[in-house]
Amino acid sequence: MSSGYITQQLINGLAIGSLYALVAVGLSMVYGILRLINFAHGDLMMIAGMFGATLFLWLSKSPLLFFMVLALLAGLLGLVFERIAYRPLRGAPEVNLLITSFAVSSILQVGMQMLFSSSPRRFETVASLSRLYQIGSVQIRGADMATFFITLLVAVLLTWFTRRTRTGIAMRAVSENLDTSMLMGINPSRPIALAFFIGSFLAGVAGVLWGWKYGQVDPLIGFLPGLKAFVAAVIGGIGSIPGAFLGGYILGMAEVFFVGFLPPSFSGYRDVFVFSLLFIVLLVKPQGLLGQTKGRRA
């Protein structure tokens, strides 16, 4: 097994991990505040992908505009659902939120099936993204490189936002302790809506990148990646934004190395491995790798 092969796998892992990380961030932020396991989050990624497959010709002149339109679409949808489905449930049992998100997920999936049919759609790409770039002994696809650098940019921007801006700090405060932050005069509605918007926006970004990576999309692509991204968020420490990135990359690496270094007959067990990883982390460090144990409150 050459070092080139290992480097190649490492790069593949980074590319997949970036996608998981982008989806996991939104799940982690929303869970951190509302304690909602958002089953509809992966479907926002799917929606960006489905509309991307449709709107490509229209927007192919400017990839940046294409990107922003789709990410904004996902972000706005996230806001809309927060407003009509989740906000009225504040104060209701947490499991009601979970069930609502499941309902939203099925509405989105069936809605897309009705709008576009359930068959896979080709996701067009641009030449510079589908090209293979040769760097030393490894080959990197343009789309994977774009995915990695976009995720890096997102990580930097999010860190700056949550550490340096008033709104970002308010968001972390609400996430840490909703009641105390309200006593401190923070109106939680804004940070919650913002968490939904940012998370859904990033899911939209991931949807476009997903389309570029795999070349096709269909109305059911969202559920499993959403689930795995949630696993990533739990592994990294749910509620923590750096944790979501760490978890995403761990999951991506674990998947790639599991398939890349074991005989092909094991490849069916990739997801078994992923979910077992969740068990191990929960057993050893229940709050996740970067999660903080919250002080006991009466």
């Binding site: 049992p93 499991v95 069930i99 499941f102 309902a103 069936v110 809605g111 689930l227 997801d271 068990f279």
Partner: protein
């Protein structure tokens, strides 16, 4: 029975109210009418209707189990369908491959679900805060699905297992839909009785006490971990039984019947019906089973309508439809008494 007296403070005044006896008569009357209706149902239902009612029965059993975990112990399990899969596959494989008697297979399936419930619940429930059981059962539900798909030598993989036999008792075959219907009904009645007894036993009271005031109950010496674990394991065993009932009814099982979202559907039945109440699971399972039949004319729009319906129920009836009962009782069957 003497009338129940309640006192509440409204503003400055102590108001004493009593529940009208007609409320008791009405609820008991309705319950008895429903039971008689279910017993007589084969008189006017054809096979399809009976199969629907059997589906309702096994779903109610599974949701009743979930009710112990969620409604009384306050922990979310997303693996109830996976436990149904454990029960269904255990019993089917024992019957078809090992030639085990149906009833013995049923009991083994129940015990294995119970055991797995303990094994999963033990590490997961050490942590009380947060949704650790939900996370762990989310992983477990996916693992079970993947194992059922991958281990083709045992489970026949995604193709599933066909021609699952229905039971017979003392040489009396329960194959005919009408007979299988009564079998399902009796199982449902048994499970309901078990839940009823659990809830009225000191155990059940401990469950409720821990749900309603954990700090106080722990100070009285009740171990939250132990009781939650018990509730989860017993609830999972119910799912195992429901899985055996499903396998016999459908005569076919495959991994997709027990996938994660089926577990979410069971959680949905519980929450829509009303968690923490004995009749909630009956209502929730009935709605999720019967509504698709009534809404058949909507075709592909069905899931969208259903999803919107769930959002509306969650918004306006956060305690589920069974939560309407105390409201009706207070609004229409309560009167003030002069003290």
């Amino acid at each position: 029975m003497s009338s129940k007296l309640n006192s509440t403070i409204q503003g400055q005044q102590l108001v004493k109210t009593e529940t009208l006896k007609s409320f008791d008569y009405l609820t008991w009357g309705l319950a008895i009418a429903l039971i008689i209706g279910l017993i007589l149902a084969p008189l006017w239902l054809k096979n399809y209707g009976l199969i629907l009612l059997c589906t309702w029965a096994f779903r109610t059993v599974a949701v009743q189990g979930l009710n112990l975990t969620m409604g009384y112990a306050g922990q979310v399990s997303l693996a109830q369908a996976a436990f149904m899969g454990v029960g269904a596959y255990t019993s089917t494989l024992l019957i078809l491959k090992a030639g085990v008697n149906y009833w013995l297979a049923l009991i083994i399936a129940l015990l294995i679900s119970l055991l797995i419930g303990f094994l999963i619940g033990f590490p997961a429930l050490r942590i009380k805060e947060g949704h650790y059981l939900a996370f762990v059962t989310l992983g477990f539900a996916n693992l079970i699905w993947l194992v059922l798909r991958n281990e083709q030598w045992l489970t026949n993989g995604p193709l599933g297992i066909r021609d699952i036999p229905r039971p017979s008792i003392f040489g009396y075959s329960l194959f005919e839909p009408i007979r299988f219907y009564y079998f399902s009904l009796i199982m449902l009645a048994l499970v309901t009785l078990v839940v009823w007894f659990i809830l009225r036993s000191p155990w059940g009271r401990a469950f409720k006490a821990l749900r309603d005031n954990p700090a106080r109950s722990e100070s009285l010496g009740l171990s939250q971990t132990t009781y939650t674990l018990l509730a989860f394991a017993i609830g999972s065993a119910f799912a195992g039984v429901a899985g055996v009932m499903q396998a016999g009814l459908v005569e076919f099982i495959d991994p997709d019947s027990f996938v994660l979202w089926r577990g979410l559907l069971l959680v949905m039945m519980l929450v829509v019906g009303g968690s923490g109440s004995l009749i909630g699971p009956f209502i929730g399972a009935a709605i999720v089973t019967l509504l698709p039949e009534w809404l058949r004319f909507t075709g592909e729009y069905y899931l969208v309508i259903f999803g919107l319906g769930v959002i509306i129920v969650m918004r306006y009836f956060p305690k589920g439809l069974a939560g309407l009962l105390p409201f009706v009782k207070k609004r229409f069957f309560t009167r003030e008494v002069q003290s």
